[in-house]
Symmetry: C2
Subunit: 213 residues, 2 copies
DNA sequence: GGCAGGCTTGCGGTCATCCACAATAGCGGC
DNA sequence: GCCGCTATTGTGGATGACCGCAAGCCTGCC
């Protein structure tokens, strides 16, 4: 678990008046927040393990909000982004949402509505982080496996007996047993069932389960 | 597999001129389509196993497109819906997309762009159907299980030994073995590993896998 | 009352898994 | 050359999974 960061609502806007207004709004509602005067500033500071959400103007001097969101996604971020715009149109809103924005609202907006949206964005991020950390954890464990162990694991998940695995890899059953034990140990599970659940949940293993029938 | 229906693009609009125009457009592009003069007509005819997508005006006499989509979702439909509007605004578009609409475009629209959107909607539906049919299949198998069998299955997926299961249910090991065999048989798998994969993939089992550590 | 379906159990045997103990061998780095 | 890591194999035994055969009990339904 590398999560030591508190959820923060990041305000990204090149208009100081807006930053101050939003900042004040969130603080009075007990929503921790930080402000950034440009997309560039925010991107420069951004760390992978940040949690929370982003409230960002779509039109700014320099990098636009849309470009900023694209850059974030490329860096693997899943932080929910709420776009704010003064002169938005339908295609822009649709494009932003289809690219994964959390919401898209127009100025002037209702304070209460925005706070509600931010709250649900924070909730979504919390859910994402839970799934994500599970995936990262499993991925890290997979990294520790040696090549042979990975091979054996694949055959275990294909439901094959140690005997068959030994045959396919042209090694003895005993060796398979050793690899198998190491796989379980390194993956932190105590049975093939747990292994299957862990990998299937994390979506890190595409078993070619031969559907019966 | 109950899928015997061909993917159809359903045009729902109360303006006959639009219906004719869209219908002509799709036919000339080899996209099979059907037309409906109102949301009510469409809903009355709609069947669970329909595939394809929906191109619907958001503002119509009688039931609106948004209400129609809500009704469809309540009936379990996941058909991608593309909204078309003459006088849409940003909040309306955002609302529609956040409720699961596939796209939201304004009139006048570009023919080629619409056909492209419909194509990707059809693709998405095909993907959804694949996932869905797997889920439905597994759900049907789960239905066949008796209460006791479901209980035993839960404990198997929790990674417990037959001995422990027998203990917890206050029955003999032999009985557990019988149930276990029936579970595998009815679920169409040949091992606990396959069972775990199938259920985890279908998302129909929330294993309280005690994370090692 | 009889029949079907579900839940239960025992016996005995085969096959698979898991593990401790013990050992050989290649490879890259200090 | 020694060390650490990985891959390899063997023996033997404890434990668990799976199966065929056989059978008793209870409940709901015709």
């Amino acid at each position: 678990m590398t999560t030591d960061t508190t959820p923060l609502t990041h305000i990204v806007d090149d208009d100081e008046a807006i930053r101050d207004a939003l900042s004040w709004l969130f603080r009075t509602r007990n929503v921790p927040c930080a402000t950034w005067a440009s997309a560039e500033d925010f991107l420069a500071a951004y760390q992978e393990d940040w949690r929370g959400c982003i409230v960002m103007d779509i039109r700014m001097h320099g990098m636009s909000g849309l470009d900023c969101s694209t850059a974030l996604r490329q860096r693997g971020s899943t932080l929910p982004i709420i776009f704010i715009t003064g002169h938005g149109d339908v295609p822009m809103a649709v494009g932003a949402l289809k690219r994964g924005a959390f919401d898209f609202i127009e100025k002037p907006f209702d304070d209460n509505a925005l706070v509600d949206i931010v709250q649900s964005a924070l909730d979504e991020d919390a859910r994402n982080q839970a799934r994500r950390s599970a995936r990262v954890d499993v991925a890290a464990r997979l990294e520790q496996l040696t090549g042979r162990e990975r091979e054996v694991m694949g055959l275990i998940l294909a439901g094959k007996f140690n005997k068959v695995i030994a045959d396919e890899l042209n090694i003895s059953m005993r060796t398979v047993e050793v690899h198998r034990a190491r796989v379980f140990e390194k993956m932190g599970v105590r049975s093939a069932v747990e292994l299957a659940q862990q990998l299937t949940l994390a979506g890190l293993y595409n078993s070619a389960t031969p559907s019966a029938e």
